[in-house]
């Protein structure tokens, strides 16, 4: 008996890279099916095949038992397949209704009232609360996602694919999304849900297919598995899923930030009076939805973002208005691992050696650049951090995301920082690399470094950090002690509820 939606023997290559290798996937209507796998396991490729964006080199897709050639997204839509992408495809200055109508053939002839009626009906059926007249630029991330889902449902999709939908949401929004997904299931839709977060899988999925390195590892039901087993299937060997938090005695206060203010190029306030203290042998986590001032805060501390008010003091020395080189010339060793690794932290087209000299080449004497030392350091880093690269002279671009991050960290840690700022250091990385990076950060903490850790995974923040500062709209909502705080509390702060707590 064939499943309602069946993919058989799907193979898809990009040049030399085999993204999908003979993959099978079977999904039923009225089922939530999680697709689990590390980066590069082939999840996105597989669902892109299903939604008609990629054409497989070989293999077939059967919908309702009939072989279907999904040669274009339109054909996929016609058979009821709808995909909600990780990056929303919405027109910012149109309202919800207009976005729903876009690309819809019958749209132009529809009456506004009738349309609103349909939208309301769908809203009620799936628990999607949407105001049809609201402009997209006025929406929160969660609302935009709902609109994306609405768009797909409006076109009559009953096979829904969600590509890492929770990555951008608060815990509350995630919960809400799960309710909607549950409703879809109840309405008889097939839901394919891509993620790499085990706890979400355990919470919502009926069945799980694990992919690794482009191949199907196994399909199992939720009841017969555990997060530990899933992680091991994903990675291919035993893993330890707990993060250590070495108990260290908090040292003296190294960095004191008071009432920090900043505006962006459009004159909108991005930092609204941020104050905190950071001590040596401490990891201060920064939580918050993306774009709530984290980037600006990090860059302001590193001397890369102009501030309009407040103070930054490093052991009593003001850093306000100082450039990175001026800060360095004060003898302050500050390392900054920016969020945008290839667009800021590294030069993609250059090799490891040239990337290693990026921040201290200017300290060399004369007009020439000597790369001898950097070559040696690069070789050491490859050994120490287990960086897999064809060689120190290959451009960084050729490396995988995890190895790129290792190169960046290696350079930043090479300078023996006393203050380390890291922004989303494990974003998009595999479990293995992520844990390696947590270890490295903990190592630095034990060495006595003061660390500011901007993260998005609340579980990780709670396990890794000593205190967690929550930002919303450029303001500090509160600073919690990690061992006493819970996800619920963090979630509330992230959505803008203030607390007076400042942690110990």
């Amino acid at each position: 008996m064939m499943a309602d939606i069946a993919m058989e023997g799907i193979t898809k290559t990009f040049g030399k890279v085999v993204a999908n290798k003979n993959i099978d996937l079977q999904v039923k209507y009225g089922e939530i099916h999680a697709l689990l796998g590390e980066n590069g396991a082939g999840k996105s490729t597989l669902v892109n095949v299903l939604s008609g964006i990629y054409i497989p080199d070989s293999g077939s897709v059967y919908i309702d038992g009939k072989e279907t050639r999904l040669n274009s997204p339109r054909i996929a839509a016609e058979v009821g397949i709808g995909m909600i992408h990780q990056h929303f495809k919405l027109v910012e200055n149109m309202n919800a209704r207009e976005n729903i109508l876009l690309g819809n053939k019958k749209g132009l002839l529809l009456q506004k009232e009738k349309l609103n009626g349909e939208i309301v009906a769908l809203s009620e059926r799936f628990g999607l609360k949407i105001n049809p007249d609201q402009k997209v630029y006025d929406m929160t991330v969660g609302e935009k996602q709902k609109l994306e889902i609405m768009k797909v449902l409006f076109r009559g999709a009953n096979i829904l694919i969600l590509d890492e939908p929770t990555a951008v949401l608060t815990p509350q929004e995630t919960e809400n999304l799960f309710e909607i997904i549950q409703k879809m299931k109840d309405e008889g839709c097939a839901v394919i849900f891509i993620t790499h977060k085990m706890n979400e899988v355990m919470m919502i999925a009926d069945r799980i297919t694990v992919l690794r390195k482009g191949e199907t590892v196994k399909t199992l039901t939720k009841e017969e598995t555990s997060p530990q087993e899933l992680a091991e299937l994903m990675v291919g060997h035993k893993v330890d899923l707990s993060i250590k938090r070495p108990k260290t005695e908090k040292g003296r206060v190294l960095l004191e930030v008071k009432d920090l203010q900043a505006v962006n190029e459009e004159g909108i306030k991005t930092l609204r009076g941020i104050s905190f203290k950071l001590a040596t042998r401490e990891i201060l986590g920064v939580a918050g939805l993306a774009g709530n001032g984290q980037k600006e805060l990090c860059e302001a501390l590193a001397g890369l973002y102009p501030i309009t008010g407040g103070s930054i003091e490093y052991l009593g020395e003001s850093l306000v208005g100082k450039s990175p080189r001026e800060i360095s010339s004060l003898g302050i060793s500050m390392s900054f691992v920016p969020e945008d690794r290839l667009g800021m932290g590294l030069v993609a087209a250059m090799d490891m050696v040239d990337n290693f000299i990026l921040k201290d080449y200017y300290k060399q004497k004369g007009m020439f650049v000597d790369r001898k030392q950097a070559r040696e350091k690069a070789r050491q880093a490859i050994k120490k951090l287990d960086i897999s690269t064809p060689g120190i002279n290959n451009s960084i671009r050729e490396l995988s995301g995890g190895n790129i991050q290792k190169v960046l960290l290696a350079r930043e840690l090479n300078s023996n920082p006393s203050l380390l700022i890291t922004a989303y250091p494990v974003r998009g990385l595999d479990i293995n690399v992520s844990y390696k990076i947590y270890d490295l950060i903990n190592e630095e903490k034990e060495k006595g470094v003061a660390i500011l850790y901007v993260g998005e995974d609340l579980d990780v923040l709670l396990e890794l950090c000593d205190r967690i500062m929550v930002l919303c709209h450029g303001e500090v909502m509160g600073i919690l002690d990690a061992d006493k705080a819970g996800k619920e509390e963090l979630g509330l702060l992230m959505s803008g509820e203030k607390t007076d707590k400042l942690g110990d």
Partner: protein, 349 residues
């Protein structure tokens, strides 16, 4: 139907095969054109090669054409490396030639070496300062340099035209609008039958190679070209780097202008650049912004020009046909660059 897919990476061997294939195709297509004109393509191609390398004189002519192409390409390469689209090389060549000519016409009696040195410095300054204008605008206000540099070519051209018809017109030329010839001291001497510009060219290739690969400024230019954010992150002075790199870019073009005015024209005229500023954009690009490759590409390009000119007289081919032939070859070679970056996939519905 078919669609295009960006290639992730391509092996060196494959890219060479594609390029060779393109050249083969170019000659085949051009051959058909020649056949319609009742010419034997093989004979024409053979004489193109003969025309470019067949005698010592022809080789020297190829070298003479190579010199300005290489020096200008080096200048453009520095700007392009920084993603500053300097389309203004032609104008910078003219202004370099203008500044050098000012020295040559006014101080023509100075000792030869001193005079040539002054002209060299003036040429570099002329081209450099001219390029500095769009460079400054870009650094200060992020203006689009493509348009500004292009427009400034016409300004430079009109300025030389004005001089040629007006204040610098040679009173001895019986009213013919030309600028007086330089004195013998202002003409670059020859070495092995070719003006010493070729020596300057080789020297500059080495200098620019070292500059781009082994100096701090060269490193900064490379970083800035990849990402301005990274340059800021690394603490570089972005404006300063833009401005100084652009000055250098223009200065090299200006040097090319000085060499052409001094050694080839022996005077200043609107013909002095001969379109090299535009041709060099192609050679720079095909040369992958690498000085040594630029030398090779420019040499081949000059040979193509010289060979194309030769067949006109040797086979009585009209100029327009010879240009068409050159254009076709160029079209296929440039076209192949596209296929090196993209792959065509035929798809069955």
């Amino acid at each position: 139907m078919f669609r295009l897919v960006k290639r992730s990476e391509i092996s060196r061997k494959k890219s060479i095969v594609i390029r060779l294939l393109a050249i083969l195709l170019a000659f085949t297509a051009a051959g058909i054109l020649l056949l319609t004109l009742d010419l034997n393509p093989l004979e024409v191609y053979a004489s193109m090669i003969k025309g470019a390398f067949g005698s010592a004189y022809r080789v020297r002519e190829v070298v003479i054409k190579t010199v300005p192409l290489v020096i200008t390409s080096l200048g453009i390469a520095i700007a392009f490396k920084m993603l500053f689209w300097n389309i203004g090389a032609d104008g910078q060549i003219l202004m370099g030639a203008f500044a050098a000519s000012y020295v040559a016409l006014n101080y023509g009696d100075l000792p030869r070496f001193l005079l040539l040195l002054l002209m060299f410095v003036a040429g570099a300054l002329g081209g450099g300062l001219w390029a500095l204008i769009p460079g400054f605008f870009r650094a200060q206000w992020r203006t689009n340099e493509t348009i500004i540099t292009l427009m400034m070519n016409y300004v430079a051209l009109k300025w030389i035209t004005y001089l040629q018809y007006g204040p610098w017109k040679d009173p001895q030329a019986m009213g013919f609008p030309k600028i007086p010839n330089f004195t013998a001291n202002a003409v670059l001497p020859k070495l092995f039958g070719v003006h010493v510009g070729w020596l300057i060219m080789l020297l500059l290739i080495v200098i620019i190679h070292v500059f781009l690969n082994h100096t701090k400024k060269g490193y900064e230019i490379a970083v800035l070209g990849e990402s301005e954010n990274t340059a800021l992150y690394a603490g570089m002075n972005v404006k300063n780097t833009i401005v100084s790199a652009i000055f250098l870019s223009g200065a090299l073009c200006g040097i090319a202008g000085m060499i052409e005015a001094s050694a080839v024209s022996n005077t200043l005229s609107v013909e002095v650049s001969g379109g090299v500023g535009y041709t060099a954009i192609i050679t720079t690009w095909l040369g992958a912004l690498k000085p040594l490759v630029i030398l090779l590409v420019s040499l081949l390009f000059a040979a193509l020009l010289q060979g194309g000119s030769f067949i006109q007289t040797a086979h009585g081919i009209p100029e327009s046909t010879a240009l068409l032939l050159q254009g076709m070859i160029l079209f296929f070679v440039l076209g192949s660059e596209f296929f090196i970056r993209y792959r065509v996939i035929l798809r069955k519905e």
